[in-house]
Symmetry: C2
Subunit: 426 residues, 2 copies
């Protein structure tokens, strides 16, 4: 009965994060004095609202005790008022505070899906949905959206082709990470009809609702009539208040049975972060000016990145309507190889390159500059898709974005010259 210590099958199956997997190359590059423009991660550089930082400094508790497993009622009540601004009518009992939106996705899957159950997700998709599905033993089936069609929702037939006895849910991210796509009323109605017809759960990740640039209406899954018991909304304060580190999200549903089950998972992990809840609550009211400024800033950054990328020969990206990402097609043979090469081989230097950069607190001579991007292949399940695409986040200031785009152009040129590719210039 001797056996080896084994890693679980799901542990082996778990993907590495496409956003974080190039991190070791980035550390090495920085160690060598290369300045990196990080277009790979969705970590806003903007300050957290002052009101939230003030709340943090004025925590007057002497014991940092457990909070309720569902989260503080006062925070849930503040969220009720927040959602009301978006015509989403809730009461505080319908909101469960989670450790980031991540935990909300995990608990939704854990509560609603059995091993082998299938979830239909439009791809490219946020890679961690796959991780949470694997954690729950569920299976992600994808309908493909394409860069040439601007990542709009595929026809209803494409969904129906995938629906079988194991299909339990549809998952959407709206506005979308990684594409920046915003679902139209017509598309949301199509999803509603599917959900209704097959009585599926609709998991809707709407953490980017604050980031919509086109004047198009934001249609929440919570706005769809007749599927109230099907919808599980995933939310997070991370992006909208630039407080990703406090780990405060929410799982929201009008389905009481789902809530009761989710609460069992919540009780097992005892409570969401206490201090994060205090910071989040302070962020919700009285930060309208902050949100407006942030919105204006991102509107300009978006223009800056998109215009810049589309001016690089052979590059193309649709204009994203929301979130702060875009998926771009590059004129390279393999975007993953190219992204790694940008970190391990390439550096650019001109008269505007700084003389020194700070690496882990020490000043070192700057040897050149480069860009870090997330290869888009990791956002697709089909290994043939997205090979020449990258996800770019526009969470840097405009000046940095302009320089990053210029350097990206130079990198493509050098890479293709080295590899004998013509890039976009044949």
């Amino acid at each position: 009965m001797q056996r080896g210590l084994q890693i679980s099958a799901r542990g082996i199956e778990m993907p590495e994060s496409p956003i974080r997997k190039l991190a070791p190359l980035a550390y090495d590059a920085e160690d060598k004095g290369v300045k990196i423009f990080r277009l790979n991660i969705g970590q806003p550089d903007l300050p957290t609202p002052q009101k939230a930082l003030d709340a943090l400094k004025s925590v007057d508790r002497t014991t940092l005790e457990y909070s309720p497993s569902q989260g503080y009622r006062s925070l849930r009540q503040a969220l009720v008022n927040y959602y009301d601004r978006y015509q989403i009518k809730l009461n505080a009992d319908e909101i469960i505070i989670t450790s980031g939106g991540s935990e909300a996705v995990l608990f939704a899957f854990m509560s609603c899906l059995n091993p082998g159950d299938e979830i239909i997700v439009p791809e490219p998709a946020y890679a961690n949905y796959m991780s949470f599905a694997i954690s729950a033993g569920a299976v992600i089936r994808t309908v493909t959206t394409t860069i040439d069609e601007g990542f709009c929702l595929p026809k209803v037939e494409k969904f129906e082709e995938l629906i079988n006895d194991r299909t339990k849910a549809i998952l959407i991210c709206n506005p979308n990470n990684p594409t920046g796509y915003l679902y139209t009323q017509r598309e949301m109605n199509q999803i509603r009809d599917l959900v209704k017809k097959y009585n599926l759960y609709l998991f809707s990740d709407e953490v980017y609702r604050e980031f919509i640039y086109t004047g198009s209406p934001y249609i929440s899954a919570m706005h769809l009539e007749g599927i109230e018991r099907n919808v599980v909304l995933v939310d997070s304060v991370s992006k909208r208040y630039s407080e990703c580190g406090i780990r405060i999200g929410a799982l929201i549903t009008k389905n009481e049975e789902v809530r009761k089950t989710v609460m069992k998972f919540c009780q097992a992990r005892l409570s969401p972060p206490l201090i994060g809840q205090i910071v989040a609550e302070a962020s919700i009211e009285g930060t309208e000016a902050y949100s407006r400024e942030m919105y204006e800033e991102y509107t300009e950054r978006r223009k800056c990145l998109i215009d810049g990328v589309n001016r690089i020969p052979g590059c193309y990206t649709p204009i994203p309507m929301g979130a702060f990402y875009t998926v771009a097609k590059l004129p390279v043979d393999d975007a993953e190889k190219f992204c790694a090469w940008c970190l391990s081989e390439f550096k650019y230097k001109d008269e505007n390159t700084p003389a020194k950069i700070s690496v882990s607190g020490r000043e070192v001579e700057c040897m050149g500059e480069t860009v870090m991007m997330a290869p888009a292949a990791g956002f697709y399940t089909d290994p043939e898709l997205g090979k020449d695409q990258v996800r770019l986040a526009y969470v840097l200031c405009k000046e940095d974005l302009r320089r990053a785009v210029m350097i990206l152009g130079k990198a493509i040129e050098s890479y293709n010259a080295l590899n004998g590719n013509s890039g976009g210039k044949e």
Copy 2:
């Protein structure tokens, strides 16, 4: 192909927390003006170290950004020094910061166990291990420890009876929640030999190492020779610094393959709480006086509770060597029924009962006092076990503990008089 919206099988199987399930009755009692002495939860009432609270107030970041998925290196380095005090030799790469010890248990199970794999756990056991096992599809098998033997570890044969091809791990909590038992060197060697013979994982939850009252040595799973790759240590700063709310724990192992897998789960949930890490790091160094005072306080509280309970006719509890819980046998027909009755029916009043109590911020007339306990049945898997037992935590001040024990005695008397039981007095 019409189907209903279903709850997952694991969601249905998930137990309710035995510690939190009586909470609604407690809210009702408080609403009626009954003062409750909470002996049910492990939430220390002591203040968090001032140094940690100061660190919280002096957070000078302007963006509350994601932290690394593994946790800040500076915190991991501080923990290396901390464990060194206990002769546990680690490097910072061997430590992964988690959202509380809870997440460490979940990720250990997720990474090491397949659905159907079995974990042997001495019972009574911390109820949430069961929840995390269900989340991972794993099965808890129990060896029973008994109150009459002071909850010492059963003979090795009892373990071997359970070992089969699906057995993948042993899990211990040392010092133990709920029993307060501390494993001896001989018992730890017995576990080591089993782990080695059958090449099992040893998950060791040692969050209560600071709470050992008998002068007996603390033997960590990390001290056991020859099973370095088998051991996964679960830890948390919650109890030792009275900061349960910050949600900072750790998963520690010298098994690199396990760490790599756990890190995939960590990347999926992005990062552990940022502010919690800052508070935890400040708690580790320069808080020796705090730890000493806390230790002395708990030593006295323990004496106060144990002596008091053992003086109630028909009650018995062994003397716990560690943690801040004890399991006590009460002279009642059904401890769960009795605990519910204490909240819903019973109240005690004498000249020392306060005139007013504060309920959710408002002052109300105090109608009497009662005690809240965790029925111990929830800590056993065998439904026949622990029926006349409760878990009592001694996290109240001595004066409150004395009064709570007196009221518990009165409650037992009334309950048995009402039910026609003789209690312990036949």
